[in-house]
């Protein structure tokens, strides 16, 4: 018998169209591809001899997709050496997507912490492109300092179309806006009880935001969070990304908060 | 003039050499081994007998099997254990593996660069790539034998009192590398013949080796070139260890004060007749004859011994059938035991006494390098005669070359009990 199955480990290639230096160790890559994908999904990016790393699809155009990568380890550092015209090997897209339709006729609150904005940029842009019946789109973005702000060239457009608020933890004299943790910003902001919330950021930030949202009367059913876990296969077989009964790689990375709450909030699950 | 070599290179372990020259003559010459002693005999005290092969192996990472073999032999001697011929053959094979590996390491990595006046095998490989590759292949045959029988090259894990923890199903995979190493060794004949050897003759020294049924390696009694045959238990009656102030390693001399040498040249001179046919042939083609008294030619003797080991190994491998049992039963008992074998560098003598439960009461180990320090100094005196007038650089260079002929292993030499300041 001949086994003819699509090999999930098969790598495809895309040309790097454009590289943007966002900050000292964060670069954004535009990759040529016509692959279908949805906001919230990620690819496994391959670096020869180094391994693979899951990286969110930060945005997508008709013939390209966007990855924003922070150089922290072997794979990501290698990817940072890529320049226009180089070839990137990857597989994907994997995982589920942000359920934007849940926000129809409601308020949509997006909360991004640090690099988490890579996972919300695309869905935010969709939400404000006018095709979705969403009452109000609000995006809160918390970042460490001025230097690490990502996607600065897009802010102007975003601010025109939606409420896009930034807060910095450790600002310098260049900064005129909000100062403090993102939870402070949530506190200050007017959010309706039935708002739909998308969060992406480090675990502790997600937890803190949920607490703050609870205070505003937002139900856990109305909160979605995109999680990060150790991942090797991305197709639900290596076991590394498990959180309770869920595989973050295939059941997530986006989870409705009430579904993962009891595992996510528990220590060491 | 004082010539100092602060750190000898391309030898195992670290030592130094001080030479004082006055009016064209060496006035004083000191081989200083400064590695701190590691007190093995003391560490062994109180430990159970079965730890001997694992602990004593750590005296030397280059010839651990030698320590294991002398060690288990001493325990077996104390407990009156008689190993079967079959198991003895496999012990020999393992020991051959170590000789091949260790000799090839010395010949190609440490010694050969001297004959080409280069700093290392890395440089040598740039000019004599195929020679170096050949050396690697020969060494690999030894390494593979050790890995197959003991799990790894350095500090193999399979040797125990009474035999082996486990023996492989088959040794078939060793045949090819061993045979290839043999072919390669012969293909290098012309290269070795073409090496240039400075003249030197060690006239008045005694060659000391073991003597046993075959060319000595695993066991036997001590044989001296002036005709003495000494039982292993009497070793210390004829040879004595002493220390010198400037060195942290013990030395050894014959009680009658004669300087002696142990190692390849001594074995070759004392037991030439027992070499395998191909090894004899190899020696003949190198125009090497016993007695050979030029230590510079030890490199050739090592090649001859490699051929001997390869020939014997191939036979054992071909005849190999896994023994019914990899070890024989025995009981620990009170007593004293001796073990002696031929490490690649020469005679390695162990003795232990045990209490009723087999705990070690005392341990005494005499490694080859301790024994060879006097002959090394003597050879230096001879070897330097020619070059004394040729400047410091040359003296230094030649001194190291002389020392390398003896393949000293300083880690072995500094294993010992206590420093006596003389």
């Amino acid at each position: 018998m001949q086994v003819k199955l699509e090999n999930p480990y098969r790598l495809r290639e895309g040309k790097v169209k454009r590289v943007i230096k966002e900050s000292e160790n964060v670069f954004t890559f535009y990759i040529e591809t016509q692959e279908e994908a949805f906001p919230g999904q990620y690819n496994m990016l391959y670096a020869f001899g180094m391994g693979e790393a899951p990286i969110t699809i930060a945005d997508k155009g008709t013939d390209y997709l966007v990855h924003t990568v922070r150089a922290v380890g072997d794979v990501t550092k290698h990817i940072h050496t890529l320049r226009e015209g180089d070839v990137l090997h990857y597989r994907g897209p994997y995982g589920n997507r942000w359920k934007i339709e849940e926000a129809y006729d409601k308020e949509l609150l997006i909360i991004s912490g640090g690099l988490g904005i890579a996972a919300t940029r695309w869905i935010f842009q969709e939400a404000i492109d006018g095709r979705h019946p969403i009452r109000r789109v609000l995006h809160l973005y918390g970042s460490k300092d001025y230097e690490s702000l990502l996607y600065r060239e897009l802010y102007h457009r975003w601010e025109e179309k939606a409420e896009f608020l930034i807060t910095l933890e450790k600002p310098d004299e260049r900064w005129k806006g909000n100062v403090g943790l993102i939870t402070e910003l949530i506190k200050k902001t007017n959010i309706s009880k039935d708002a739909l919330v998308f969060i992406c950021g480090p675990d502790p930030m997600v937890k803190a935001c949920v607490l703050e949202l609870e205070k505003k009367g937002v139900e856990h059913e109305g909160i979605y969070a995109s999680l990060e876990r150790h991942m090797k296969c991305s197709v639900g077989t290596c076991g590394h990304c498990m959180i309770g009964p869920f595989f973050v790689c295939k059941d997530g990375p986006v989870f409705r908060y009430d579904r993962i709450k009891e595992y996510f909030e528990r220590k060491e699950v | 003039m004082e010539v100092r070599i602060d750190a000898l290179t391309r030898v195992e372990g670290e030592g130094a050499l001080d030479i004082r020259i006055r009016e064209g003559k060496v006035e004083d010459l000191k081989l200083r081994i400064y590695e701190p002693p590691r007190f093995f005999e003391q560490i062994l005290k109180g430990k159970p007998y079965h730890t001997i092969p694992d602990i004593t192996a750590r005296i030397c990472g280059i010839c651990p099997v030698a320590y294991q073999m002398s060690g288990v032999q001493a325990v077996e001697d104390a407990f009156s254990v008689k190993i079967t011929e079959e198991l003895e053959r496999i012990r020999r094979l393992m020991y051959y593996g170590e000789w091949i590996q260790s000799h090839a390491l010395h010949v190609f990595f440490l010694h050969l660069p001297d004959f080409y006046n280069v700093s290392s095998i890395l440089e040598l490989s740039k000019m004599e790539k195929s020679l170096v590759n050949a050396g690697l292949e020969i060494k690999k045959a030894g390494s593979k034998t050790l890995e197959k029988l003991g799990g790894r090259v350095s500090h193999p894990v399979s040797v125990k009192v009474g035999g082996f923890y486990k023996l492989p199903e088959s040794l078939e995979e060793l045949e090819e590398p061993l045979e290839r190493a043999m072919d390669i060794s012969f293909s290098l004949l012309e290269k070795f013949k073409g090496l240039h050897f400075p003249k030197m003759e060690l006239k008045d020294i005694i060659f000391v080796s073991l003597e046993e049924e075959d060319y000595p390696i695993l066991k036997g009694h001590i044989l001296t070139s002036d005709g003495m045959r000494i039982r292993k238990e009497d070793f210390k009656e004829f040879f004595e260890e002493y220390t010198v102030e400037y060195s942290s390693a013990k030395r050894s001399k014959r009680k009658d004060g004669k300087v002696y040498a142990t190692g390849p040249i001594s074995r070759f001179n004392n037991c030439y007749e027992k070499l395998s046919p191909m090894a004899k042939e190899y020696a003949k083609r190198l125009n090497l004859e016993a007695p050979e008294k030029n230590p510079y030619k030890s490199i050739l003797v090592r090649m001859v011994e490699i051929v001997h080991c390869l020939e014997r190994s191939i036979k054992i491998v071909k005849d190999y059938r896994r023994p019914e049992s990899s070890q024989i039963e025995y009981k620990a008992m009170e007593g004293k035991g001796y073990g002696v074998s031929e490490a690649p560098r020469g005679i390695l003598w162990h003795s232990y006494s045990f209490d009723k439960e087999g705990k070690i009461k005392s341990a005494d180990i005499v490694p080859p390098t301790s024994q060879n320090q006097d002959v090394m100094e003597l050879s230096l005196l001879l070897g330097l005669e020619e070059v004394l007038s040729q400047g410091e650089e040359r003296i230094r260079d030649e001194s190291e070359k002389v020392i390398r002929c003896f393949d000293p292993c300083i880690s072995c030499a500094t294993h010992f009990l206590r420093v006596f300041i003389s």
Partner: protein, 226 residues
């Protein structure tokens, strides 16, 4: 990349691993200091220094501090350098004072093993050459033992095996030769010693005889209790 290889109190077995790398030894660019391998050595600055052996006296102590100063990355290789080695058993009997490298200077990486395996050394060097961050195993020998399909000697024959608390890396050689691991790679960083000793009180002796008896983990948890 400038590489230095240094020896302190030891048996030489870990340096041998360089030679046992065979052909690949020749692919290492620029070994600038390695007494055992070459006669021309340069004692300058090093990108990576490999240190074998334990520190036993004043001179050693000064030497290791000097090497540290000259080295961007310092790697302790083998049980002697990582734990003090077999000779450090003497510390407890007040025979001598010999200590692991980390007791004197900062160490960037520790390659476990008595001796280290040529394979591990190869992978480590290669990882550095490829510009990767080396990651060394912190799981027990048991995992390797099972990956190799070896039968557990403790369960099937009642042998004492230090596998469950010993750092992987050797390829589970001892269980492969039907004997229990005697711990030559030293402990994993957080072994459950209490549980292990409770179940196998007889392992205390082999741990204390072992080439890693003076390892920090054992020093602090095992010898203290006395």
């Amino acid at each position: 990349m400038k590489i230095g290889v240094f020896k302190f109190s030891s048996c030489d077995g870990c340096q041998l691993a360089f030679f046992e790398m065979e052909e690949e030894l020749f692919k290492i660019p620029s070994i600038s200091y390695f007494l055992e391998a070459q006669s021309v050595n340069e004692y300058g600055h090093f990108d990576v220094s490999f240190v074998e052996g334990s520190v036993s006296n004043r001179e050693d102590e000064e030497r290791i501090r000097d090497i540290r100063q000259r080295s961007k990355v310092l790697v302790a290789i083998g049980a002697c350098a990582v734990s003090g080695g077999i000779q450090s058993v003497g510390n407890f009997e007040e025979l001598l004072k010999t200590r692991p490298i980390k007791d004197y200077v900062d160490v960037d990486y520790e390659l476990a093993g008595c001796p280290i395996s040529a394979h591990t050394l190869r992978d480590f060097l290669m990882t550095l050459l490829h510009g990767r961050t080396p990651s060394l195993p912190d799981h027990p020998v048991c995992l390797e033992c099972k990956r190799k399909g070896k039968v557990c000697v403790t369960v099937s024959r009642g042998e004492i095996c230090l596998g469950p608390i010993t750092r992987a890396g050797c390829g589970a050689i001892c269980p492969s030769y039907s004997r229990g691991c005697y711990g030559c790679y030293g402990p994993v960083s957080r072994p459950n010693l209490e549980a292990f000793l409770k179940c196998f009180p007889q392992v205390e002796e082999p741990i204390k005889l072992s080439f890693n008896a003076y390892n920090k983990v054992y020093r602090e948890n095992l010898w203290k209790s006395e």
